[in-house]
Symmetry: C2
Subunit: 417 residues, 2 copies
């Protein structure tokens, strides 16, 4: 029977990808659009078929439930998100929802009612693709988002989040009606969106922590000058200074080593012309680490050194921090259980940090949380070319099944979470 | 009487700046426009007043002549250009034309007919601001430009150079009717457009050579990747590579030393986003030197080293050369004469290369050529804020007067050039 359910995972993934399918390939399911609503309804129908009592909350998160026998044991929630980026792939979010739903369907069919209630969730939104905010789904469940935001935030066509939600049939409810404070644990399975598993020849990633992140903009001001008539020693070249800063950022990040990453993704020479010494450059910094204090120390040290470069070159420098997110550590007990399942099942697993954000990071502060990765071919995500092999989808699914079995029926079912 | 003529220099400069004056300040006199034509006519009127027999050639270069007594001595030509960039300053080009014209006016008034014919020229075009070509004026005189180009080159409104020229009243003539092969020497005075004189506290720049120049575009290709999920050691970051290249360009240029300059004026991260490791970067290189072989050696060596950086980082690199102009050495005999005039007159002079292009560079291949600079405040040019102090304008004018006296009436008048 496990084989049958395992086989359904890629089938349901392909089928779900028809909701919001783009003509040229890829999937676009933005929050509260028709494609999105039809996909949630399609998932609800499968939950119904599997006997999982589908139910929406006030903002459109879709739950399925496998009722446990012992009401004193807090439920374990598993799932991911249904929305996509514009012209995204079939796997990001969807794989987690489908694997979780089919895992509960299998467990119900094979073992009947668990000791502990197991629930699947298809979060309404995680990507931030339609409205300028992220985690609208899991943020409500964990009490991070409130309804107040909905009236003031609008998409590119000027439709507010509140309007869009109500048009899709969701009231938003009163106060924090979508929040949950009864959860025993949250478990998510997701594609890696990187190539660490592929590079290391592994099938299962056991996420140790979701990185904290800082995003900054750095502005470097020198003096625009004639490229022919200004001797090298008389220049205050903003780009030469910025280049030294970019090179130093990479050097320090390599010295610090994994799991720190530091990226200059965008760099603009203002009014750049081939025969003018650049007077102004602006670039971004994206710095991530699983350890909050190491992240902070790295950033402080880096900025000090960038200022030294600026001072030595007689340049002005200004930096603005746009985003600061703390790292979230995954639960060591559940992670150890995943590791042991991999050994038992013969799946090649490895521990790794998550460099990308996930719904799981919002649960880290609320309850024990675990995050499982399966490989992304070529590290691709947010892309129609997103691909995870059927074999890897199966390994991830069966790992999740075993894990939920342990917490629902097996050795961990009575454990207080 | 010299004092009177010296005083006229800034007066005529201010007055000429009213032709093509921009409402917000600055001057725009594009080739063959009404403002340009009126300015040439205004200069012709002053030449007439000074007794310099004004005359246009077939493309609109305006000459004034002070006829010499000995027809066997080749004439010395002095001048600069009348056109400006869009919203340029009052001094670039105009100073050289006005100083030359008033110098001849003074010499005629003070000393009568010279032994050798002295001529002033107001070239029709140097900047390349209206049509995509430069040196339309001096290029005809030196035989570099032919009329063929005029029918195919158009301005942004689709008006061909030929049309514009004919509308302004110039025929273009037959063959190379505007070319001159009778010249003994060409002497130009111009603002520096840099701040070397200002920085060194000098009034007169004696240009040793006009730099040769190479312009290239360099394209660096890596692999775009997720900034969170791609460890530092697994990246092929096009921007980190380009930053190392920009830094190396500056380092090698500083090691090579004056007069070499190397500039990355433009750098673009293709599809740059703060949370994506850059996959493609394009930047420009502008490299100048007064010595052709040193320029070539530097470029070859630099490109080899950039390729090494690319190879080490597993990046692809492509470079395309867009422009290659040879250096032009100024005449050592005339330059020595300028130096000696500075000493006699008590003007603080210094030798320096010209990093910018000038009409003088076209004459270098045709006849002995000299170029004199006066300071540009703050190094500014092509800018409404362009400024040279009245004192520096006077020093430059009087240096030119003395030089033309030497070659027209004095110790150098009989010299075969």
């Amino acid at each position: 029977m496990l084989a049958q359910f395992t086989k359904r995972v890629p089938e349901v993934l392909e089928w779900l990808a028809t909701f919001g399918a783009d003509p040229e390939g890829g999937v676009t399911r933005l929050l509260y659009t028709d494609a999105w609503l039809q996909a949630q309804q399609a998932l609800a129908a499968i939950m119904q078929e599997l006997g999982l009592e589908p139910k929406y909350d006030a903002v459109g998160n879709l739950y399925g439930k496998l009722q446990g026998i012992n009401p004193e044991l807090k439920p374990v929630l598993t799932g991911s998100h249904i929305d996509t980026v514009k012209n995204g792939g079939k796997y990001d979010g969807a794989y987690g929802v489908i694997a979780s739903m089919l895992a509960l369907g299998y467990l119900k069919a094979a073992f009947g009612a668990p000791k502990r209630t197991l629930e699947v969730v298809s979060f309404c939104e995680e990507e931030g693709s339609r409205f300028p905010l992220t985690f609208w789904g899991s943020g409500h469940v964990t009490g991070v988002h409130q309804m107040e935001a909905a009236a003031t935030i609008a998409d590119r066509e000027g439709i507010t989040l509140l309007d869009a939600m109500q048009r899709a049939g969701f009231t938003g409810g009163q106060g924090d009606s979508a929040s949950r404070n009864d959860l025993g644990a949250y478990i998510e399975i997701h594609i890696e969106q990187g190539s660490v598993l592929e590079y290391n020849g592994k099938q299962i990633g056991i996420v140790t922590a979701i990185v904290g992140q800082k995003r900054l903009t750095v502005r470097v001001l020198g003096k625009a000058n004639h490229a022919g008539t200004t001797p090298m020693t008389m220049r205050r070249d903003a780009l030469a200074g910025a280049a030294e800063m970019v090179a130093l950022t990479e050097k320090l990040a390599l010295e610090e080593g994994d799991p720190l990453v530091a990226t200059v993704g965008k760099l603009e020479v203002k009014q750049g012309t081939s025969n003018v010494v650049p007077g102004e450059v602006e670039f971004t910094l994206d710095i991530r680490h699983t350890d909050e204090s190491k992240l902070q120390t790295f950033c402080t040290n880096l900025l000090t050194k960038l200022e030294e470069i600026a001072m030595r070159r007689e340049l002005d420098i200004q930096s603005v921090e746009h985003l600061s997110v703390s790292p979230v550590v995954m639960h060591s007990g559940i992670s150890a259980e995943i590791e042991s399942i991999c050994q038992d099942q013969g799946f090649k697993g490895m521990k790794l940090p998550s460099g990308a954000g996930h719904d799981a990071q919002l649960f880290g502060a609320v309850c024990p949380t675990a995050l499982i990765f399966v490989p992304s071919r070529g590290g691709l995500s947010h892309n129609p070319e997103e691909l995870t092999s059927a074999e890897d989808l199966a390994a991830g699914f069966q790992t999740l099944v075993q894990l939920l079995y342990q917490y629902g029926y097996g050795g961990k079912a009575d454990e207080i979470l």
